[in-house]
């Protein structure tokens, strides 16, 4: 297995290449999960209409497909294409989603549940698509049904007589298509249920892509449907095998494996890959899990902002246990906490303007206490002239080169930019820093999903805790560290070149 460093580099290369074409919020590589659910929705919606036009009988099944593909108004062509290519896109996007999460090692720690619950969805998606191909009852469908039967017969408890149902013309009756239709509708229902379970440990999941990305996918599928209409092959004939057959490789690859490896070999490959995927969270645990966030009850006022901002739903509000004046307190579920620190950035007690000597927030990352951050700022600024230094706050997970010591930069590294309370920016500017550069993940690419979004919303005043209205926004530069340190250097120089209008202490 490639090392995490190589894998994350591969992810960044792909992401950067696609980012050249798409602005940050629309980058499809960053919303593969959401695009997958949209592809499923397109497939299901077109399937519901197609079902109304489908005849579940031996002669009618094949004719149903032909009627759609020969529809002179092109409605049928579009409908069939959207259904077929939507299903193909679903499989492709699902595999790409899996690949991206693998490259980003998003199966470790508390993310094991989302990873593991996603594995059966591949099987369900595949089965739903395969049964759809059977409903057309052309020579591809017959080959697929027989190849699947041969594959199933390799299982110890499946009788070798299964394939007999498809060997002779009279062996099948109309009930076969009712059964396949039952599977073709039933399996996607399980798939949708599985998707619901898959998202259970994610707070505010991005179920749908950005509108522009969604429209892009729909248009793309529409164009393919019209340019390369999905077509039936010749009607299924058990007494004739064509020389070659056109396969839908997104669903029929196992048939080819069964042909070349035998049924048992295909089960070994498919089962082995499934087992490997499912056990990855335990095979590759990665570095030591950082200590989860800890609630400091004496500083927690039960405002619930941490619970609202946590990307993984690791924080719940529970009745107060210390007899304090507030009705509720935050409680962290250690099993779900990824120690991103976004809750620290959300906590109103994290403000550095508090007068207590040892600053402690209502919720803290034990390995990166917020008080240490204020201490660093104070110590460095004691010996510096106002306006001669810029605060550079870097996300530990965003890309970027090594940082060389620079007297004009006060560099701090946080687990996620969302960990930095906006009041710290206000504090830093009032202490005499020339500005602040926030170097984090680009939009939609946050390691912890919501850190970039919450940071920008807090600074823009759209989300609590808000950055005070009269803090000079032009002194804060948000920077996606997509390239190297040069972009940070440029941002710092720009802030140093333009003198501040406000003097330390005047901002209020």
């Amino acid at each position: 297995m490639a090392t995490p460093c190589l894998r994350s580099r591969a992810d960044r290369v792909i992401d950067a290449a696609i980012a050249r074409a798409f602005a940050a919020p629309y980058n499809p590589w960053r919303q593969l999960g959401a695009l997958t659910s949209l592809a499923l929705a397109i497939t299901v919606a077109s399937g519901i209409v197609a079902y109304a036009l489908y005849d579940t009988s031996i002669s009618g099944a094949y004719q149903s497909g032909l009627r759609l593909q020969n529809d002179p108004s092109y409605f049928g062509v579009l409908l069939r294409g959207l259904h077929r290519y939507g299903a193909d896109a679903f499989m492709l996007l699902m595999i790409l989603h899996l690949l991206r999460e693998f490259l980003r090692s998003h199966y470790r720690g508390p993310r094991w549940y989302s990873w593991l619950s996603g594995v059966p969805l591949i099987w369900l998606g595949w089965l739903a698509g395969l049964t759809g191909l059977w409903l057309l009852w052309d020579s591809r469908a017959l080959h697929s049904v027989m190849a699947t039967a041969e594959w199933l017969q390799a299982l110890p408890l499946v009788d070798e007589g299964l394939v007999r149902n498809f060997l002779a013309s009279g062996a099948l009756n109309d009930r076969f298509f009712s059964l396949v239709m039952f599977l073709h509708i039933g399996v996607p229902l399980f798939l949708i249920g599985g998707l619901w379970a898959h998202l259970q440990r994610i707070h505010l999941p991005a179920v749908w892509p950005r509108r522009a990305a969604g429209v892009g996918l729909l248009l793309t599928l529409g164009v393919v449907s019209l340019l390369a209409p999905a077509q039936s092959l010749g009607m299924a004939d058990p007494h004739f095998v064509p020389k070659a057959i056109s396969l839908d490789w997104f669903f029929q690859l196992p048939h080819v494996l069964t042909d070349s490896l035998s049924g048992a070999g295909t089960w070994a490959v498919a089962g082995g890959l499934t087992l490997l995927c499912a056990s990855l969270p335990w095979l590759d645990r990665g570095r030591r899990k950082p200590a989860p966030a800890r609630v400091e009850l004496i500083h927690c006022n039960g405002c619930s902002r941490c619970a609202a901002d946590c990307p993984f739903g690791a924080i719940r509000m529970v009745p107060r246990t210390d007899g304090g004046m507030h009705a509720q307190q935050a409680a962290v579920d250690d099993e779900l906490c990824v120690a991103c620190g976004i809750c620290v950035g959300a906590c109103p007690s994290s403000t550095p303007f508090r007068r207590i000597e040892d600053l402690v927030s209502g919720i803290e990352l034990p390995e990166q206490p917020i008080g240490r951050l204020r201490q660093t700022l104070r110590e460095v600024l004691k010996s510096r002239a106002p306006g001669s230094m810029v605060l550079v706050c870097r996300c530990r997970h965003s890309p970027g080169g090594s940082q060389a010591p620079d007297p004009s930069m006060l560099s701090i590294e946080v687990e996620c930019l969302g960990m930095l309370p906006p009041s710290f920016l206000d504090f830093a500017l009032r202490q005499g820093l020339a500005g602040a550069v926030l170097a984090g993940c680009e939009g939609g690419n946050c390691e912890f999903r919501l850190g970039d979004r919450w940071t920008l919303d807090r600074i823009a005043g759209r989300r609590a805790p808000r950055l005070r209205r009269n803090v000079a926004r032009e002194r804060i530069i948000s920077l996606a560290r997509q390239d190297d340190e040069a972009s940070i250097r440029n941002a710092v120089d720009e802030l140093l070149r333009h003198p501040m209008h406000d003097q330390p202490g005047d901002a209020r």
Binding site: A21, D159, V223, V224, F240, P242, W249, I477
Partner: protein, 176 residues
């Protein structure tokens, strides 16, 4: 608040790249949903499929229990006849143009070995005329008691199904 990041490309270049990414995605889906075609047989191949499911005769004949044996049984189990459920192994042989193609011993199915024996095989043969001889034994002795011989002419791609249905006279060779 100023935002920076990846330096944006000029608009036309960005649109061209977007078309390239979406076009690549569309092409990938369009192509792999139907191509490349998968070869199922050679130019001049026909296919012979052997498939039947058949319950052989009982392995051991029924016999009468003697008084002593009956006494040992629970009252509700005291039936005169003892009929073991196990069936015989089905023996099957097939020759094509005088050469052996299959020689199979098919055990009865089921946990108690009282079910039918089942077989499925498929093989490619050259298209043309073939003499096919099949025989089957479903007796405990192994003696062949069903057979059929026929000359079949197979076109390229044609499937010959070799089936065995006793109720329809034994072996059935179907090709259309």
């Amino acid at each position: 608040m100023p935002e920076s990041g990846t330096r944006p490309l000029p608009f036309p270049a960005r649109v061209a790249l977007q078309c390239l990414v979406l076009g690549g995605f569309a092409a990938f889906i369009g192509v792999f949903s139907a191509k490349p075609a998968y070869p199922l047989r050679g130019e001049n191949d026909a296919i012979v499929k052997l498939s039947f499911t058949h319950a052989a005769q009982l392995q051991h004949p029924c016999r009468e229990r003697n008084a002593e044996e009956l006494k040992k049984l629970a009252p509700n189990m005291r039936t005169q006849l003892d009929c073991p459920r196990q069936r015989a192994v089905v023996r099957f042989e097939m020759e094509m143009d005088g050469k052996p193609a299959y020689r199979l011993e098919l055990p009865p199915g089921g946990l108690r070995k009282d079910g039918p024996a089942t077989v499925y095989r498929r093989a490619m043969v050259a298209a043309g005329t073939h003499r096919i001889a099949a025989r089957l034994s479903d007796k405990p002795s192994g003696e062949f008691n069903h057979s059929k011989e026929a000359v079949v002419d197979l076109k390229p791609g044609q499937v010959l199904l070799v089936d065995f249905i006793p109720a329809e006279g034994g072996f059935i060779f179907t090709k259309e």
